[in-house]
């Protein structure tokens, strides 16, 4: 669905993104993982043309993104930011219904869609429809941010460290509600994060980035068990055991128990 070819972005003398190429299939959740400064956010913002690449091409759905006006492109892409970017002077309802309103939906349809999304994300419409963002907690605000990005049912969702500003408990709760959304099943999602757990939890494909380049891309298990180089290996070492346990399937359990027993016997 998304084809990125030889994308480079240079700021003055600094290469933020260095000749990247990759594809993302339809319905896939592609996670871009890396430390700060690895270029992942810059890359994400080039997808919806918040930043224009210095060179390279990007196609979404077989159309070059530069072939259409940026505003039209963006209305078909949902965007979630880390600090929500909710409009403080609009109510929750107005925030969520913004893109549909820009697209000219009729009011009843917007209202119905808003209520539906709020309920799916466990935001009580009675309490919050007419409230203002500052009246909500951080977790609730981020749910609104998600609802706002999903309101017009865009086929593509861009998320820039969406859960980063939340405390661990809230983060877990919001993530849980997010994963349960059935409409995500046929959406393509590009998620940027530095949280390894999150990457493994949500991603179909992980693109590990460093210094503007993709060091390795693949299924989570690939990066763990078949690291391309020492950088990849070291990246996951801190939480290796947790991640490996989370990644292996039930069918691997016997092999794991065997290996463990074998290890124990040798000790004895």
């Amino acid at each position: 669905m998304i084809v990125v070819k030889n994308i480079t972005k240079t700021f003055e003398a600094f290469k933020a993104v260095d000749d990247l190429s990759f594809t993302v299939g339809e319905g896939e959740t592609a996670v871009f993982l890396g430390t700060s400064g690895s270029g992942k956010t810059t890359l994400l913002k080039m997808i919806n043309r918040l930043i224009e690449p210095s060179s390279g091409e990007i196609w979404i759905g077989h159309q070059n993104i530069r072939g259409q006006p940026a505003e039209e492109l963006r209305k078909k892409i949902g965007y979630v930011l880390q600090n929500t970017g909710l409009f403080p002077h609009y109510t929750i309802a107005e925030n969520i219904g913004m893109v549909p309103a820009l697209l000219g939906w009729d009011r009843k349809k917007i209202h119905a869609r808003t209520i539906a999304l709020m309920e799916k994300l466990h935001l009580s419409p009675d309490d919050h429809l007419a409230a203002y963002p500052h009246q909500l907690s951080g977790g609730q605000q981020q749910r609104v941010g998600l609802a706002r990005a999903l309101a017009a049912d865009p086929p593509l969702l861009l998320m820039d460290e969406p859960f980063g500003a939340l405390d661990p408990i809230t983060r877990a709760a919001v993530k849980k509600d997010f994963k349960q959304l059935d409409e995500l099943k046929n959406k393509t999602i590009l998620l940027v994060t530095h949280d390894v757990q999150e990457a493994f939890e949500l991603g179909d494909t992980i693109h590990l980035m460093d210094k503007g380049k993709i060091v390795q891309e693949g299924a989570p298990g690939d990066l763990l068990f078949h690291p391309a180089n020492t950088f990849v290996q070291n990246f996951f070492d801190d939480q290796r055991f947790q991640l490996e346990v989370g990644t292996i399937g039930k069918e691997d359990y016997p092999a794991l128990i065997n290996a463990f027993n074998h290890f124990k016997n040798r000790q004895a």
Binding site: L50, L81, N83, G85, L86, F87, P88, L102
Partner: protein
């Protein structure tokens, strides 16, 4: 004072009108300009710098710049006020929009909003409190600077303020200053209400606001007062004096539309046909320069203004040689000579010092300064050329004929200020006029005035005696000219309309009543 109460309303409405017209134009231009420079950093530096410089120019100076370009009246006043209001509005718009949370802006862009949509749905609503603060600042500035509009015949509450200063009438100053202050507070408060309104109610109000502003501006255009064929310009001092505007109305029944204007500007304005009748002094050099003629005061409401030095008695007694020295000018200068001297200074731009010296030399009275150190005499003067010339003459005479040193305190604005300085021993002597002493300082009962007016000598004798008895001040011998208040018109126009006296003028206006 009671006559002036009707004027207060007129002035307040004029003031509101001036404030709002200039504010409206400033918002119409400043707001889009502020939005524009948020997108161009280079332009921002230039625009903000320019508006900032405008603000540093003192109010009176800015008005002065306007006069040769735009004349007198409402247009230069509004232009000056508009320029003052620009900086707060532009700067606050710029700052307000730039202070919008970048995350919100990013979200708006990422949603697919166009630039215009971002401006109207995000930037302006969120920057509104800051923009409004700028408008409030501009309003308060305008109300304050607007008091200067009276200087150039644009009306407003400044008329009372200037008049009160010239006449040293504190009540009059307050009558202008307090309403101005209240107006500023009131407008600021009303605008603060708007600032605090919720977004929905605000939208409705914002549309009605320009209409309201237009309404307030229209006050200025309401034709209050007379609308006559001829337009008169009077100084603030003339407006308040018994022997000025008040006398014209009561004795002659003169009905003419009047604007208040400063002395510095009015002669040129008459010459340029912006005014038809002006108040002035019968020995003013500008009479000659601008080809104006004096209308005869046939009903004698302007008393004689015999000029003579007024001096503190103890100074006169302390330095015996001082009296005879000052009397050297007795009967040396008649009306036409004084007009000529004034003309040289005011129009030919000679310095008062040169003019004074030339005159003394021509009369054989000049002596080089003796640079004596016997004592010191302080001479004061009001703020017009005639006084400066006389003071220079006296100064040269004292330094040439005595061993006394001279210290001059020129530019004491107005009769009362000069007189108070004399009483309070800040100065020892200044040249005064008998008519002024009678009507502005002594202010005796009208019966007394009636008995005296018209007769040069009886006024002089009365004033001399009263000053001696009441204040311990002495009047020395008269210099010889009579600088009376006068109404004047362009000579040609007066000839065409057959107007030679003030009664002629009154009759003409009655005949051609609009």
């Amino acid at each position: 004072m009671q006559q002036q109460s009707g004027k207060l309303l007129q002035q307040t409405l004029e003031h509101i009108g001036l404030t709002f017209i200039s504010l409206l134009i400033a918002v119409l231009i400043g707001l889009p300009l502020g939005i524009f420079i948020t997108r161009r950093a280079k332009a921002a530096w230039f625009v903000l710098g320019f508006a900032g410089i405008l603000q540093t120019i003192p109010g009176i100076a800015l008005l002065g710049f306007m006069i040769p370009l735009l004349g007198i009246g409402a247009i230069p006043a509004i232009t000056a006020l508009f320029l003052y209001a620009l900086l707060p509005i532009i700067r606050n718009t710029y700052t307000g929009i730039n202070s919008v949370d970048p995350a919100v802006k990013e979200a708006a862009t990422a949603m697919g909003m166009s630039d215009a949509q971002i401006l109207f749905k995000v930037d302006l609503p969120l920057a509104f409190p800051v923009i409004m603060a700028g408008i409030r600042t501009a309003t308060v500035i305008n109300v304050g600077v607007g008091t200067l509009a009276a200087y150039i015949a644009a009306g407003g509450l400044g008329e009372f303020i200037f008049g009160g200063i010239a006449l040293n009438n504190t009540n009059m100053i307050l009558a202008g200053a307090i309403p101005a202050a209240l107006l500023a507070i009131l407008l600021d408060y009303l605008l603060s209400l708007l600032q605090r309104m919720s977004l929905k109610r605000r939208k409705i109000t914002l549309w009605s606001l320009p209409l309201l502003m237009l309404l307030c501006s229209s006050f200025y255009l309401l034709p209050l007062g007379y609308n006559t064929r001829l337009l008169a310009g009077f100084t603030p001092e003339f407006m308040g004096r018994q022997d000025g505007d008040i006398g014209l109305r009561s004795v002659y029944g003169l009905k003419i539309r009047t604007v208040v204007i400063s002395d510095a500007v009015m002669y040129k304005a008459a010459f340029n046909e912006k005014l038809d009748v002006i108040s002035g002094y019968s020995t003013d050099g500008r009479l000659k320069a601008f080809d104006l003629t004096v209308l005869n005061d046939d009903k004698k409401i302007f008393p004689p203004y015999y000029a003579a030095p007024v001096i503190r008695r103890e100074v006169l007694e302390k330095y015996g040689e001082l009296g005879p020295t000052l009397d050297l000018l007795h009967d040396q200068i008649n009306d036409s000579i004084m007009t000529e001297l004034n003309y040289r200074v005011d129009y030919l731009k000679q310095s008062p010092e040169t003019c004074a010296k030339d005159f003394l030399v021509s009369k054989g009275l000049y002596r080089a300064p003796r640079n004596g150190t016997k004592g010191r005499v302080r001479l004061g003067s009001k703020i017009f050329s005639e006084q400066y010339i006389l003071i220079n003459m006296y100064s040269m005479l004292i330094q040439g004929y005595t061993d006394l040193q001279v210290e001059t305190r020129t530019g004491l604005g107005g009769t009362k200020i000069c007189f108070q300085a004399l009483l309070n021993n800040n100065i020892d002597m200044y040249p005064e006029y008998t008519g002024t002493a009678l009507l502005a300082i002594l202010q005796p009962a009208s019966a007394v005035i009636g008995r005296l007016t018209g007769n040069r000598d009886s006024v002089y004798n009365y004033v001399q005696r009263q000053f001696g008895e009441q204040f311990g001040l002495c009047w020395l011998a008269p210099i010889g000219f009579n600088n009376a208040y006068a109404l004047m018109m362009r000579r040609r126009q007066a000839q065409e309309l057959g107007i030679r006296t003030i009664s002629d003028l009154t009759a003409y206006l009655k005949k051609t009543k609009v």
